[in-house]
């Protein structure tokens, strides 16, 4: 933990993006997490993704609940509003913000305690609404701030730091999300920035609920032998199933893909996501197959990663609410209030 203020000096050799901003412009306060924490790598991936997308920082709203993961929105995009709400309730706050201002780019950061125990209900219902939100679950299988209790994502048989085995089944967030009809479901690893950055970019541009579960080891309480959420374990058991590339609509595709190995999904605004299958028999656009495949890999102890499931054009929460293109926050009171003459007319109904 560090108490020094981070200098905002820019190195002249830092590369600017199309907005003329460097990665430094997408950073935030200095992290207060433990050295080596997986969450800090995810923060770095966020910074990289926003920078690569040429996104104006202040158009983003960062929301979180409570816990180590929920602190991280303070560590990126200092020029964006952040909201560290109450434990497990970030989805509700994001839902309200999204309903009020459909133009906000919403990013939610949560942890496995926040999402799968205290906030499980809210996560489920945000998925059902298809809220236009990128939801990143920083998953370490353990309660860090309260010093090492198992979380609901801890695998049965995995050991805590004192050597006690977890006896209950894990809630697998990816299977849960697919089951509930999430329209974009990915899994990644904080130690795999090459995979994670394109996933974040694709998730940010997806219209609807984009869910990314990122295995993010807790170096202090869950990185030991016997843990199934450690760096070593995750590296050994992770298999990439689908590699995602995000291609902005205006850009040409420059990568050579093997014919037949790529599925292309066009987003609402013309951007494309290229899904390159690493596992041969995998179809990331088939929900049932995706679910079955992930389960099959789990049975042999493997962790399927990548953009595991995606549906193309979807109707997000604001479409369902039919709120149109103008954010509700921009409608003037004059347009919202029917005025005295209408009220006078209406009164005859109550006579």
């Amino acid at each position: 933990m560090s108490y020094i203020t981070k200098p905002q000096a820019h190195h002249p050799s830092l590369k600017p993006n199309a907005l003329g901003l460097t990665r430094r412009d997408y950073e935030g306060a200095i992290t207060t997490l433990c050295a080596g924490c997986g969450h800090d790598s995810i923060t770095a991936a966020f910074i990289q993704a926003f920078w690569e997308l040429d996104m104006e920082p202040h158009t983003v709203a960062k929301l979180s609940g409570i816990g180590c993961s929920s602190k991280t929105p303070a560590y990126f995009l200092r020029e964006a509003h952040g909201f560290n709400s109450v434990h497990g309730r970030m989805p509700a706050v994001a839902t309200g913000a999204g309903a009020a201002n459909s133009q906000l780019k919403l990013v939610g950061v949560s942890g496995d305690g926040d999402s799968l125990s205290i906030g499980l209900g809210q996560l489920c219902h945000a998925i059902r609404r298809n809220l236009n939100l990128l939801y990143v679950l920083e998953n370490n299988g353990v309660y860090g701030l309260t010093k090492g209790q198992f979380s609901a994502s801890a695998d049965p048989g995995s050991l805590n730091k004192r050597g006690t085995a977890n006896t209950m089944p894990a809630i697998d967030s990816v299977l849960l999300a697919i089951n509930l009809g999430a329209t974009f479901v990915a899994r990644s690893f904080s130690g795999d920035k090459e995979q994670l950055v394109p996933l974040i970019k694709a998730g940010l541009m997806h219209k609807g609920f984009a869910f990314i579960d990122v295995i993010s080891p807790c170096v202090t309480f869950n990185d030991h032998e016997g843990s199934t959420k450690s760096y070593a374990y995750t590296r050994r058991h992770q298999i990439e199933v689908v590699e995602a590339d995000f291609v902005p609509g205006r850009r040409e595709i420059t990568v050579d893909y093997d014919p037949g190995s790529v599925k292309e999904v066009t987003l609402h605004n013309g951007d494309r996501i290229m899904l390159r299958k690493v596992a041969e028999d995998y179809d990331p656009l088939d929900r049932d197959q995706a679910y079955a495949y992930i389960r099959d890999r789990q049975k042999v102890g493997e962790l399927a990663t990548g953009l595991l499931y995606m549906s193309g054009m979807t109707s997000d929460m604001n479409d369902q609410l039919r709120t149109g293109d103008t954010p509700l926050t921009q409608v003037s009171h004059g347009d919202l209030c029917p005025g005295s003459a209408e009220l006078e007319k209406l009164m005859s109904r109550y006579r």
Partner: protein, 599 residues
């Protein structure tokens, strides 16, 4: 017997789900259209079909709106409650029953006049189908009452035309049922009874409306765009009303886009979270709920208080604790709403007394929430929220400008040297806000964890305390901005009486009775919390003050003691908490038990 004009009460006992509610509404509306002041109280069960339900109608030339427990006439149509209903008729009163089935002679009261009308037989002869016969029986008793009480039949006929004009078959059977009841009664009994109606002109500037509809309308006029809710009795009809008004007035005629968003949440925790998220993003947002919902919302209310996010809540109170009696009324959430959440908190509360105030206070609530950047809870109750009240027509001032509080625009942020979210720039305890998505200089981190005036995380005691103290100053200063209390002083009064919300009608009536008996009493009704300075002054100017409220523990009295430091010995409590709207007599009795009428 001497006749009594426009001053009596009657009660209709039926079973829930049989269609009696629409007949009861019809009767009340017809009396209202005769220009006579009238009040209706619906006592209904937490049930969809079968359990007993009652509807009480009070006609009062003087315009008293409180419930009266004395019934001159009972319409006893529910066999399940028949004996109890008969026992409630005042001595010398009347009982209307369905004489299709005979009554046991030995069980009849001798001080009550029985009026039998074979309603089921009449319906069986005239109508086909079981459901239709049951429904029409209700309309038959409307016709019977028209004959017995002198309800203008033309008004009844006109109301059915307005209601069923587009359904000729229904219209015909309704009108036939009115005639059946009316003619049979007129032929067999001397009509009208000594209790009777006479046309007046006292309701032409009034409406009949329930508080939930009025509050929903207030939200519409205030410019609320986001409503989040979890359905709960007795608040449900507030959001239903808001939805219906939005569908009528808030669909953009060109784009067909909805200029509103209604979010049915998974629970009340989510509902208040959505309101906070929407308000944080700059919308006027609200949630209607009842006591159990407020209990669930406590944690988020603490966040909104501490992070200074506006939020508007309507607590349509029902009886507690726990599930309580969901369809009965009470004012037992006063303490809960004043200080909801763990930690040091205090919230702005508004207390409407009737639907007219529910409309006005809905608008006040949004202005106060945004001005003071804090939650505002409007506490009505089931009686105000779900019963039809006679109140002055609602009006709107087109000069109204919403008070959005200190929100910095993109231009203001651009021009500012630096923005600090929780800095007391103006010395009034209210800092400046910025909204997400507006300008990079407005960015800050909203949090419920310890923060300093620059919105930075802190564990420094002094920095933490500085913010907490400023928030206390800010919320306390709202006492000058909430609606001023209603005060009526009387010549020669030595004692005072304070009440809140829906007790108002019973209090004003009780104070008239006391004055007529020779005991003038000063009256104050609080309209909001934190209490205005007038409340303290009122307490100081009386040696003793009665506090009238609808809960077991004297919660308003406790609040007065806590907030004004008045000597508790000077506050006498009068409480009613069985779940029914308050009536005047217990207040009269309560005062007379402590104070002697001056000789």
């Amino acid at each position: 017997m001497k006749s009594r004009i426009n001053d009596f009460a009657f009660k209709i006992a039926t079973a829930n789900g049989t269609g009696s509610a629409s007949a009861n509404g019809l009767i009340m509306q017809a009396i209202f259209r005769m220009g006579i002041p009238v009040t209706g109280k619906n006592l209904f069960p937490s049930n969809i079909q079968g359990l007993p339900t009652w509807y009480e109608i009070r006609v009062s030339e003087a315009g008293y709106t409180a419930r009266t427990p004395i019934f001159d006439l009972m319409v006893a149509l529910n066999p399940a409650t028949f004996d109890k209903d008969v026992a409630e008729v005042t001595s010398g009163g009347w009982l209307l029953y369905d004489s299709t089935w005979p009554l046991l002679e030995e069980k009849m009261r001798h001080d009550v006049t029985y009026i039998g009308v074979p309603m089921a037989d009449l319906c069986n002869e005239a109508f086909d189908g079981v459901r239709n016969r049951i429904l029409m029986k209700n309309i038959v008793y409307a016709g019977v009452l028209a004959a017995l009480l002198g309800i203008d039949r033309e008004e009844l006929i006109k109301l059915t035309q307005e209601k069923f004009g587009k359904k000729p078959a229904l219209l015909e059977s309704n009108q036939q049922a009115i005639e059946l009841g009316y003619q049979y009664t007129a032929q067999h009994y001397k009509c009208p009874l000594p209790i009777q109606l006479e046309r007046r002109d006292a309701t032409k500037d009034a409406i009949l409306i329930d508080g939930n509809t009025a509050a929903g309308l207030g939200c519409l006029y205030a410019g609320a765009t986001v409503g989040a809710w979890y359905p709960i009795t007795p608040s449900t009809s507030l959001m239903e009303a808001f939805t219906a008004f939005c569908q009528k007035y808030r669909v953009d005629p060109e784009t067909k886009a909805n200029q509103f968003a209604i979010l049915q949440a998974e629970d009340e925790l989510a509902a208040i979270g959505m309101v906070i998220g929407a308000s944080w993003a700059g919308a006027r947002a609200f949630t209607p709920t009842s006591g159990p919902g407020i209990s669930l919302m406590n944690e988020f209310l603490g966040l909104a208080y501490y992070a200074e996010v506006p939020a508007v809540l309507f607590n349509v109170q029902r009886t507690g604790p726990s599930t309580g009696m969901p369809t009965r009324t009470q004012q037992a959430d006063l303490l809960l709403c004043a200080y909801a959440s763990h930690g040091d908190t205090k919230h702005i509360n508004l207390y409407p007394a009737d639907p007219h105030e529910a409309f006005e206070m809905a608008v006040n609530a949004f202005d106060l929430a945004e001005r003071f950047q804090t939650p505002v809870i409007v506490l009505s109750d089931l009686d105000i929220g779900m019963n039809d009240w006679m109140v002055p027509k609602l009006t709107w001032n087109d000069m109204y400008q919403p008070d959005r509080g200190k929100v910095l625009s993109a231009e203001e942020l651009e021009a500012a040297e630096r923005f600090s979210r929780y800095l007391d720039v103006d010395g009034d305890g209210i800092p400046y806000r910025s909204l997400p998505g507006v300008h990079p200089k407005g960015a800050y981190f909203t949090r419920g964890s310890g923060h300093n005036k620059f919105a930075k995380y802190t564990e420094d005691g002094d920095e933490y305390q500085e913010v907490l103290d400023r928030i206390a100053r800010k919320v306390n200063s709202a006492r000058a901005a909430i609606p001023a209390p209603f005060v009526k002083r009387r010549e020669g009064a030595r004692v005072g009486l304070i009440s809140v919300g829906g007790c108002h009608g019973a209090c004003t009536e009780a104070l008239d009775i006391l004055e007529a008996d020779g005991l003038p009493v000063d009256y104050l009704r609080v309209k909001g919390f934190p209490f205005a300075d007038e409340v303290r002054e009122f307490l100081d100017s009386h040696d003793r003050t009665f506090v009238v409220e609808q809960n077991r523990d004297g919660q308003l009295r406790s609040l007065l003691i806590l907030e004004t430091e008045v000597d508790p010995a000077r506050l006498h409590s009068i409480r009613s908490y069985a779940g029914f709207p308050m009536s005047a007599q217990p207040i009269v009795d309560g005062v007379l038990a402590k104070v002697q009428v001056p000789a």
